[in-house]
C-alpha cells in the first residue's frame, strides 16, 4: 500500500489542469518524483511540488495506491483523468472533469463536484457526497459516447444533462436532476431518486428510472403500460420514437 497526501500550499485562484494527479501517475514514486511532475496552471507550465505539499508513505503499484487530497481543490480540474485503479479521496469540493475517462479504481469526493464529473468514464466508481454540476457522466463536446461503464453515485443533486450520450454504466442521483437527463442516450442506466424534467430525449437505447416527479415529459415517448421494477410499479415508456429509439423510461 502506498498513500500519497496532497495539500495546496496556498489558495489556488487560477485553474489548474491536473490530469497528472492520479494513482497511475503517482504509484511507486517518491515525494521528489511526484513533486517534479508537470502540471499546468492557466497558461503556465509548473510542477506539482510548486503548488502542493506532497507526503508519501510506502510504495505500491497503482491498484494499491491511495491519494488523499486535503484542502481546497475547487479550482483543480481533471483530477484522476484516465485512472485505471487505486483509491482517491478528495476531502472537499473539486473542479470540473473529476474522474474523466477513468477505467478502474474508486474516487470519493466528500464535497461538490463541478461539471463533467466522470465524463466518458469506462469503469470504476465515482462517489460524490455533495452535489454534481452539469453533464455528469456525459460525453464532452463532440463525443458520440459519454460514460461507457462503471458507476457514479451522487448523494445530493445534479444539474442538467446527466449522462448525455451515455453508452453504458450506471448513474444514481439520490437528489434531484436538472433538465434532460439521458439526452441522446445509447445505453446504460440512470436512476434519479428525486425530481427531474424532460428525461430521455433522442434516446436510442438504455434505461432511465425516475422515482420523484417528472415536471414535464417530452412528447416523444410511447406509453407501454405499467410495469413493476424491483417491486415498485412504474409507467413504462419507450422511445425516442422520432429516431425509432429503443430506450426505456420508467416514471412513477
Amino acid at each position: 500500500m502506498q498513500t500519497v497526501t496532497l495539500k495546496p500550499k496556498k489558495e489556488i485562484k487560477i485553474s489548474v489542469e491536473a490530469e497528472n494527479i492520479s494513482p497511475d501517475k503517482f504509484a511507486g514514486k517518491t515525494e521528489k518524483d511526484i513533486q517534479s511532475i508537470e502540471i499546468w496552471m492557466g497558461n503556465r507550465r509548473t510542477t506539482i511540488g510548486e503548488l502542493f505539499s506532497v507526503k508519501v508513505e510506502g510504495s505500491a503499484p497503482a491498484a494499491d495506491t491511495k491519494l488523499v487530497l486535503e484542502g481546497d481543490f475547487s479550482r483543480v480540474k481533471r483530477i484522476g483523468e484516465g485512472m485505471s485503479g487505486g483509491l482517491m479521496i478528495i476531502k472537499g469540493n473539486v473542479d470540473m472533469h473529476v474522474g474523466a475517462k477513468m477505467s478502474g479504481g474508486k474516487i470519493t469526493v466528500t464535497g461538490n463536484a463541478d461539471s463533467w464529473a466522470g465524463r466518458e468514464m469506462k469503469g470504476g466508481e465515482l462517489i460524490i457526497e455533495g452535489n454534481a454540476g452539469y453533464y455528469l457522466g456525459a460525453g464532452y463536446r463532440g463525443e458520440t459516447c459519454g460514460m461507457r461503464g462503471g458507476k457514479i453515485m451522487v448523494m445530493g443533486n445534479a444539474l442538467d444533462f446527466v449522462g448525455e450520450h451515455m453508452c453504458g454504466g450506471e448513474i444514481l442521483v439520490k437528489g434531484n436532476a436538472g433538465i434532460l437527463p439521458g439526452l441522446s442516450n445509447n445505453g446504460g442506466k440512470i436512476v434519479i431518486e428525486g425530481n427531474t424534467s424532460r428525461p430521455g430525449s433522442e434516446m436510442a437505447k438504455g434505461t432511465i428510472i425516475v422515482n420523484g416527479t417528472v415536471d414535464e415529459m417530452m412528447p416523444v415517448f410511447k406509453l407501454e403500460g405499467t410495469e413493476a421494477v424491483e417491486g415498485v410499479a412504474y409507467r413504462k415508456y419507450t422511445g425516442d420514437v422520432i429516431i425509432s429509439g429503443k430506450g426505456v423510461l420508467y416514471v412513477k
Partner: protein
C-alpha cells in the same frame, strides 16, 4: 546561401538515380550543379535522400475542412501539442489546425501539398487557411463539374466560352486546376436527387455527366493547363461503382494531352473500385482497374488508402455523404454552394473487423501493387477521407513489405480473403517506386515536374533525408524501421532552408501558393461574362465584385501561365 548534401543514398526517379551516393548542391533555394567551398555541409552518412514529398490530393484548407473542425471538437482534442519558441500549437488528428497541417507534412519530409477541392465561391476561405499553413508550398483545385455556367456552355457545345469560364474561374478562385466531383450530381442534390451514371440527363440543363467530363477535358487541354482534369467519379462509394469508374477512364481516350502527362486523373480509387451489388456481396475490383491502367497511357489515379481508426469524410459529393450519414447514424454536415456544387462532411470510424472496411483497406493496396507503373498510382489517403495524411509512412511500409501485409491481414475480417486478392499478392515496392508514388509521380501528374519532385539542377531545393540506409535495410523484414524513418525525417529542406531536423521543426518559413493564370482571347471572355453577369444578377446571393479572390488573399503567389493553344481533338 549555399548548402551541400554529401554521401546521401539518393532516389531521384526523374533523373534515373536509384540509391547512388550522389552529392546535392543547393544555392538560393534551387538545386544547382555545384557550390563553392563556402557552402555549409550536411553529411547524410549513406542515409536515404529523396526530393521533398508532393501530395496531389489532400483536403487541407477551406470550408469543408472547417466544417469538419466545427463538428468534431473531440478530434481537435487529440494530437494536442503546446506551442514552442518556434512552433504554434498543434491540434487535431483527422482535421488538424492549420499549423499542424504544415508542421506534420514537413516532419514527414513533404514540401508541396494540393488541396483537392474548392468551390469558387468559397475560395477566399480556402486561401485564408492556405495563408496560415506554414512551410509547405500549396495550391487548390477548383470545382467546375456541377457549376451552372459549365453546364450551360457544355449544352451549347461552346468550348470557347467554356474555356473562357474555366480560365476566369481559376483566376476568380486563384485555383490551380480543374476538379470535377460527381458531375451533375452536385446540381441534382439541390433537389434531393443524384445522377446514377454517365448518361443520366441533368434536369434543367440537358447535359449528361459524360458531356461534362469530356468537354472539361477538351477545354483543359485547349488551355494547356499544367494539371489535367481531376475527377471524382459519379456513383463514388457505392458497391458496383467500378463500372462507372472504368467507363469514365475510357472517356480519356477521346482527348489528346497538350503536355507530357495524363489527360485524366481519377482520384481516391479505394472508393471507386468497388464490386458487388450491395454491402452484403461487396467485393474489390481493384484488379480490373489495374488492368485498365496497365493498358492505357493517359489516365492516372491515386490510392485514397483506407487507414483503420478515425477519419472524417469530406467531399463536394453531397448525395454520397447523405448515404454515408444514414449508414453511420452519426453527425452529418451538408452544404449547398448556390450555383456551384454541394458538399457533405461525415465522421467515420474504420474498424478492422468490419468486412466492408477490410475490403476497402485491400483495394488501395491491390491497386498500387497490381498496376505495373508506379507513375499511374499516387500514394494518398485522400486525407482525411481514407484516413489522416500522417499515416503515409504506414502505407509506404505496407507497400514495401508483404510480411507486414500478411500480419495485418490476420487482424482483419475474413472477407479480405474471399473478396480481395491482397493475400496472394507478393510484390514489394522498392524505394524508387515509393519515390515515384510520393514525389516524381505526383509532380508529373500536377504538371510541376520541372521544379518539383526531382533533384536535378533547376529544381526547387525541397529535399528529405530519412534515417535509414537503403543498402543496409531489408524493408520487407524491417518494415517498422521504414515506417518510423518516413514518419520523422532526419532533415527536411524547403527552398534550401533546413525546416526539420531529427523530426523536429527548426524553422517555419512561409511557402508559396501555386495558381494558374490562363489566357483566352478577350472576345471569348466578353461573351462568357455576359452570361456570368446575368447569373449574378438573377441567382447568386453575392455580387460579382465580392466574388473574386483578391491578391491580398495570396501573399506568396507562384503564378503559372497557361492559355489557349490549338490542340487536335480526336
Amino acid at each position: 546561401m549555399e548548402l551541400l548534401i554529401k554521401n546521401g543514398a539518393v532516389y531521384d526517379p526523374k533523373n534515373g538515380i536509384k540509391g547512388d551516393k550522389t552529392d546535392i548542391s543547393i544555392k538560393d533555394g534551387k538545386i544547382v550543379d555545384k557550390v563553392s567551398s563556402k557552402a555549409s555541409v550536411i553529411d547524410a552518412g549513406g542515409r536515404l535522400v529523396m526530393p521533398g514529398g508532393v501530395d496531389a490530393h489532400s483536403h487541407i484548407a477551406g470550408a469543408k475542412v472547417n466544417v469538419g473542425r466545427i463538428m468534431r471538437p473531440e478530434d481537435t482534442r487529440s494530437g494536442l501539442k503546446p506551442r514552442t519558441k518556434i512552433t504554434r500549437p498543434y491540434t487535431g488528428y483527422t482535421v488538424p489546425n492549420v499549423y499542424a497541417m504544415g508542421y506534420r507534412y514537413a516532419q514527414m519530409g513533404y514540401t508541396t501539398v494540393f488541396e483537392a477541392a474548392q468551390a469558387i465561391m468559397k475560395a477566399r476561405h480556402t486561401h485564408e487557411e492556405l495563408e496560415e499553413i506554414p512551410i509547405i508550398d500549396k495550391g487548390a483545385l477548383t470545382l467546375f463539374g456541377s457549376n451552372w455556367p459549365t453546364m450551360d456552355f457544355v449544352r451549347e457545345k461552346n468550348m470557347d466560352k467554356l474555356a473562357a469560364y474555366v480560365a476566369w474561374g481559376l483566376l476568380a478562385s486563384r485555383g490551380f486546376g480543374v476538379k470535377v466531383v460527381n458531375p451533375g450530381g452536385g446540381e441534382m442534390w439541390g433537389f434531393g436527387k443524384n445522377v446514377t451514371g454517365l448518361d443520366d440527363v441533368v434536369p434543367n440543363f440537358d447535359v449528361t455527366p459524360r458531356d461534362i467530363i469530356v468537354s472539361l477535358m477538351k477545354v483543359n487541354e485547349m488551355l494547356g493547363l499544367p494539371h489535367s482534369v481531376h475527377l471524382h467519379c459519379n456513383n463514388t462509394g457505392k458497391p458496383g461503382d467500378y463500372k462507372t469508374t472504368l467507363a469514365s477512364m475510357e472517356l480519356a481516350k477521346q482527348v489528346r494531352p497538350s503536355k507530357d502527362r495524363q489527360v485524366l486523373h481519377v482520384t481516391h480509387l479505394t472508393f471507386n473500385a468497388m464490386g458487388g451489388t450491395n454491402w452484403g456481396d461487396f467485393e474489390s475490383k481493384a484488379d480490373e482497374i489495374a488492368n485498365f491502367l496497365n493498358n492505357s497511357e493517359n489516365v492516372t489515379t491515386d490510392m485514397g488508402q483506407l487507414i483503420f481508426g478515425s477519419a472524417t469524410t469530406m467531399t463536394a459529393d453531397g448525395p454520397l455523404q447523405y448515404a454515408n450519414a444514414k449508414l453511420t447514424h452519426g453527425k452529418w454536415g451538408n452544404g449547398d454552394v448556390e450555383l456551384e456544387d454541394a458538399s457533405g462532411v461525415v465522421p467515420m470510424y474504420y474498424a478492422r473487423q468490419v468486412s466492408v472496411f477490410s475490403i476497402m483497406w485491400a483495394i488501395g493496396l491491390e491497386l498500387a501493387l497490381l498496376t505495373k507503373d508506379p507513375y499511374k498510382v499516387l500514394l494518398t489517403t485522400d486525407h482525411p477521407n481514407g484516413g489522416p495524411f500522417v499515416n503515409y509512412p504506414e502505407v509506404i511500409a505496407l507497400l514495401m513489405s508483404n510480411k507486414k501485409r500478411q500480419e495485418e491481414i490476420k487482424t482483419l475480417h475474413e472477407a479480405v480473403h474471399k473478396r480481395t486478392k491482397i493475400p496472394g499478392i507478393e510484390r514489394e515496392l522498392d524505394f524508387n517506386d515509393i519515390a515515384i508514388m510520393t514525389r516524381a509521380g505526383s509532380a508529373k501528374v500536377l504538371g510541376l515536374l520541372d521544379t518539383k519532385g526531382h533533384l536535378g539542377a533547376g529544381a526547387d531545393a525541397d529535399i528529405a533525408i530519412y534515417d535509414i540506409q537503403p543498402d543496409q535495410i531489408d524493408p520487407s523484414v524491417e518494415h517498422a524501421k521504414v515506417k518510423s524513418a518516413f514518419s520523422s525525417a532526419a532533415y527536411t529542406i524547403k527552398g534550401g532552408e533546413i525546416v526539420v531536423k531529427d523530426g523536429q521543426i527548426v524553422a517555419t518559413p512561409m511557402g508559396r501558393t501555386f495558381w494558374v493564370d490562363a489566357s483566352v482571347p478577350d472576345q471569348h471572355t466578353d461573351i462568357m461574362m455576359k452570361d456570368i453577369r446575368l447569373k449574378f444578377k438573377n441567382y447568386y446571393s453575392i455580387n460579382l465584385a465580392n466574388y473574386m479572390v483578391q491578391d491580398a488573399y495570396v501573399t506568396h503567389p507562384n503564378v503559372v501561365k497557361a492559355g489557349v493553344i490549338s490542340v487536335e481533338v480526336s
